[in-house]
Symmetry: C2
Subunit: 302 residues, 2 copies
Amino acid sequence: MKLTILGCYAATPRTLTNPTSQVLEIKNHMFLIDCGEGTQVQLRRHGIKFSRINHIFISHLHGDHFFGLPGLISTFRLLGREKELNIYGPKGIKEAITLLLKLGDSWTNYPLHFHELTSVDSEVIFEDAKVTVQTIPLDHRVYTNGFLFREKERERTLNIEAVRFYEIDKAYFNIIKKGKDIVTEMGEIIPNKELTFDPPKPTSYAFCSDTAYNPHLVPLIKGVDCLYHEATFLESETDLAKKTKHSTAKQAAKIAKEASVGKLILGHYSTRYASIEVFKEEACQVFDQVELADDGKSFEFN
Amino acid sequence: MKLTILGCYAATPRTLTNPTSQVLEIKNHMFLIDCGEGTQVQLRRHGIKFSRINHIFISHLHGDHFFGLPGLISTFRLLGREKELNIYGPKGIKEAITLLLKLGDSWTNYPLHFHELTSVDSEVIFEDAKVTVQTIPLDHRVYTNGFLFREKERERTLNIEAVRFYEIDKAYFNIIKKGKDIVTEMGEIIPNKELTFDPPKPTSYAFCSDTAYNPHLVPLIKGVDCLYHEATFLESETDLAKKTKHSTAKQAAKIAKEASVGKLILGHYSTRYASIEVFKEEACQVFDQVELADDGKSFEFN
C-alpha cells in the first residue's frame, strides 16, 4: 500500500503548497482522496496516470477539498476517457458537478457514477474481492466523512515443505489456502495449520480530515496501520480549533494513541506557522510514531 | 495600461502552463479577465494584490476560463475581504457560484454582485469617469463574450506658454482643459486650440477568446491599440478549428488586419504543437505587429 500526498495544507492553494488531495495505491487500485484546486496538476507533477483513477472519495464540500474536481472530470473527457468513473461524496456533489457541466454544455463521454453519502453512521461504500472502503463520520462544520481503506483478510500461505511431505496433489492447494483441513485417501485428517502459515496481516489506512477532536472515531479506526489525521492548529490555538471544528496536533496524537494505530501522519496545516516541524514536536509528546505529510511525499506501509 | 498574462493555454492546467486568465491594469483598476483553475496561485506568483481586484469578467462557462473562480471567491473571504466584488459573466454563473457556496455552508462576508449577461449584441457593462467596458459577442460552442476596455477621451492638455502669454487666471484652467474658448476682460475671444494641445489618444484593449473566425467583430474592435485574439490552432487544423469553434493564428491575424489594430497578441494555444513560435510565424504572414502571450508575460501600451 502506498500513499502519495498531493496536497496537505489548509484553506487555499498557494505558490508552494496545495490544498488536500492524496492518492492511495492499494491492490491495483489508485484511489483519489479529496480533490482541492490544482489536484490535476499535482497528479501530472507526480507522474500518476489519470487513466488509473476510477474511484474518487470526497470527504466534504469545502473548496479546499473539492474545487479541483470539476476540472479533473473535464480533463478526463479531453483525454478521451471511456472507462466509468465513480465519485463518492456528500449529497449535493452530483447537483454541483452536473450544473457545471451543463453550463459548459460539455457532458462527459464516459459513464460518471455518483455515490452520494448521507449516513451519519459508518457504512461500507466500496467493496471488491480484495478491498473494502467504509466511511468514518467526522465532526466538522459541514457533513464530512473520513474513509477507512482495508485490505481483506488474505488467503493462508502454503507450507510447501509440509504439502510435499504429505504428497498432497496441487488440485487441493486452493482449498488448503482457504483454511480447510485435508482428508487423505487413508482417511487421515491433516489439520490446516500443519499445511499453512498465517497470511500477512491485511493493511489498513484511515483518512480523517477535516474534523474536530472526536473520540467517537477511535473504535472505528482501532489498530489501523496508518492514520492520517488533520492537525490544522497547535494547542496554543485550541479555542480556534474548537470554533472552526478542526484539531490540534496534540488532539490528533491522542486519537492515534487511543486507537493504537501503527503510524500517525499529520496534515491539513494552517499556514500561520512558520514551520510544520512544530506539529510533529507537539504530537510526539503524546504518541511517538508521528510523521509529517508534505506535498509530494510518499509513504509505504505493508 | 498594463496587461499581465496569468495563463494563456487551452483546455487544461498543466505542470508548466495555465488556462486562461489575465489582469488588465487601467486607470487604477485591476480588472481580472477569465479565471481558469489555478488563477489564484498565478496571482500570488506574480505579486498581484488580491485586494485590488474588484471586477472580474468571465467570457464563458467552459472550465478553462472559469473553474478558478469559486476558489478565488472563497479565498477573498478567508483574507477578510469587506469590499464588494463584481462579477460579469454569462447567465448561470450566479447559480453555479451560489450553489457551491451553499454546499460548503460558506457564504461570503463581503457583497458579491453578479452581472449576468445574455445579450447577443454588444453592450456597455461597466462605466466610470475614466473607463468603459463593453462586450464583444463571440462565436463559440456556448454563449461567449469578449470584452473591450476603453479609456475615455481625456481632457485637453494646457499649453502653459500660451496661458502665460494671455495672462489667464488659474481659475479658468479647468474649463480650458474641457475645450472651452476664453473671452478676455477686453472682450477678445481666444480660441481653445491656441491654449491647448490635443490630449493623448485614449488607449483601448480588446480581449477575444474563445471564438471561431468571426469577421462580425471587426467593426467593434476597429483601431484598438491592442487585440488579444485566441489562436488555438494553425491553418493545418482549420477543420478542427471550425468544428470546435476556435480560430487559427492566420484567422486571428486576418481579424487584426481588417480591424487595423495596433498590436495583436496571440494566445489560447493548443498544446499539440511543440513550440508556440509557429503561431507567430503563421500570423506574421498576414499582419506584422504580432506578439505571443505566455504565462507571466506583461505588455504595456499607452
